[in-house]
Symmetry: C2
Subunit: 361 residues, 2 copies
């Protein structure tokens, strides 16, 4: 049986360790990188591929790139996108040439969003949001798939380098639209190398692993072109507030969107599954079950930057001195501040979005 | 079992009638069209799809288009290509807007011919050959797939409108490169309708039937775009000189390329499988077995324009008054003249090829 992760669906991945062994991923070690960010320090980035070559490029100040895409189908993003942007920004700060593409062809083909509408959404929301979340627009190259004829030509060329069976083994599906989408993504991932060979890192959620593996397979089969196989970081999902594995649009109460009305986000936190005990007495005596507390996980992944502050909250809550209600109060204040800052940041970035560095080929 | 015709291979199709019934094709009736050409009059064009709408457009002088492609992988063409060009030219003379695309993306992806090399071959040989064979360049729009971003975008969009199973049923194969090639061809076939809806006819050899059926399926699934499903004419193969079903490069003696050295072509004709009897006496008595005579078939399809002349040859040969050697002498003279004219025509057309009407988007 093929081991399948569906990058378009929401397959549950209960065991990240199993994922590492099934797909021969490397375990991530934050000590290999200078000034690891919150996600790297706290095990949210749990694995990767070929990261030594990136660590080395950083150390030796050699050229490398970081790349990610925008899927302009919705008018919101989510915490998973935030993690991608934070990882791209981290590598950008370490010297990566940075590329952000807008997957407007994929949006049109797979979700029926017209190219015009996709462009509008990307310019008015997605790109400003990426900037608000930490991307330095001055150091970033942006492009729309529909403007980049080199990428679509490459996708066609790569189609010869993969068989139906491999595709099926990686994706568990091989419908023509998925083949187009995946091979266009391979084109995107390798695009920075079309002119100059260099290592590149693609930060992705663990569900996007097949795209990276497909690209690496194709690179291996195109010896003549001599591409670097792409490196990748994989991060965990931000868990659902109602205790499920992954936030999902089908359960609105489980997920906080970005941006979201601060009050609404706060209310969702207040109703979230907690690790507090049934009675206050029990809680004081036994302490919180932190590993089941979705609010603590959200704070760890996203809301508390300082490790000392997070440790203190952990100790207080774990020991039972802090109640679940008190924890939620802190989280609520933090998410309100975060949403307010995000809204401001998006507005500010939107003003200058037309001046950015867009590639058109 | 799926009924499969492989447009990339050389599947034998022994029975054209079976093909008509298996694929629900229409039987071709030359009386529906004004001044039918040699191929139409003589049953070489044996079937079609939706040709009434084309006949009507001709009659009512309404806009319609004819389209074909150039596959610039080799430096020769063959009699099958000649038939396509003759059919396109026929419709052009009846008023069709005419489009010729160069499938350079397909050539690169599936045969490893670089875009530059493909362009060079098309400009120096294929396009001049098409003109030498009857195409009016002044009334033709040419484009390279790699220059036409609208077609590749459309291919991506169409990918959503076909399933793996349909693809497999039509082609008996569904490797990613074939999916790319086929959907890009669908883009090519519909390209003239992107700006203005109109009927179009695609003259093809019967092995290309799946592309037409795929396009018609996709059109039916895209009601909103309101494309006309493409019409098509299907012609028989030019039979192999050694009596096999179809000329093939793997049997060089069986096939005459275009252009070919006149002497070499003549020699191949002299060695061809004939319908002559074992002895002269028998031949005079019983007459030739014309339906097994590859040289007569070649004359009927390509070398004798005038019906009266062909009838006379038929009568003489059938009755045994003309020997197989004499028939071959006539064919030889005709092919020498044809090859000489073709060479001259290509040289002449090559001079003006840069002035043609190329689309670049």
């Amino acid at each position: 049986m093929a081991k399948v992760i569906d990058p378009w669906g929401s397959t549950l991945i209960e065991d990240y360790n199993k994922l590492i062994s099934d797909f021969y991923l490397d375990r991530f070690d934050p000590k290999e990188f200078p000034n690891p960010n919150r996600l790297m320090r706290r095990g949210v980035v749990f694995s990767g591929l070929d990261l030594k070559v990136i660590a080395q490029a950083i150390k030796e100040k050699k050229p490398f790139y970081a790349l990610s895409g925008i899927m302009p189908t919705s008018e919101k993003i989510h915490f998973g996108t935030k993690m991608v942007v934070e990882m791209v920004s981290y590598f950008q700060q370490q010297g990566a040439k940075t590329y952000i593409l807008v997957a407007d062809l994929e949006a049109e083909a797979t979700r029926g969003v017209s190219l015009e509408e996709a462009r509008k959404r990307a310019m008015e929301f997605h790109i400003p949001a990426y900037i608000a979340l930490g991307l330095d627009p001055k150091k970033t190259t942006f492009y729309f798939q529909s403007d980049n004829i080199e990428v679509v030509h490459a996708a066609y060329k790569f189609s010869k380098k993969v068989t139906y069976s491999q595709f099926h083994a990686l994706y568990g599906d091989s419908s023509p639209d998925r083949i187009f989408a995946a091979l266009t993504q391979v084109g995107d991932i390798l695009y920075p190398q079309f002119k100059k060979r260099m290592p590149g890192v693609i930060p992705v959620g663990c569900d996007q692993c097949p795209h990276i593996l497909l690209t690496r397979d194709i690179v291996n089969r195109m010896k003549k072109e001599n591409y670097f196989p792409p490196s990748a970081t994989f991060h965990k999902y931000t868990p659902s507030l109602n205790g499920h594995f992954k936030m999902s649009k089908s359960m609105p109460e489980s997920m906080i969107e970005l941006p979201e009305d601060p009050k609404s986000a706060c209310n969702k936190i207040k109703r979230a599954v907690s690790g507090g005990r049934d009675t206050l007495e029990e809680h004081r005596k036994l302490g919180a079950v932190i590993e089941k507390d979705m609010v603590f996980e959200l704070m760890k992944q996203h809301l508390v930057e300082d490790d000392g502050e997070l440790n203190k909250i952990y100790e207080e809550y774990k020991s039972g001195r802090m109640t679940s209600g008190e924890l939620k109060e802190i989280a609520c204040r933090k998410i309100v501040k975060f949403m307010e800052d995000l809204e401001k940041g998006i507005k500010k970035a939107r003003k200058d979005v037309n001046k950015l560095n867009f590639v058109k080929l």
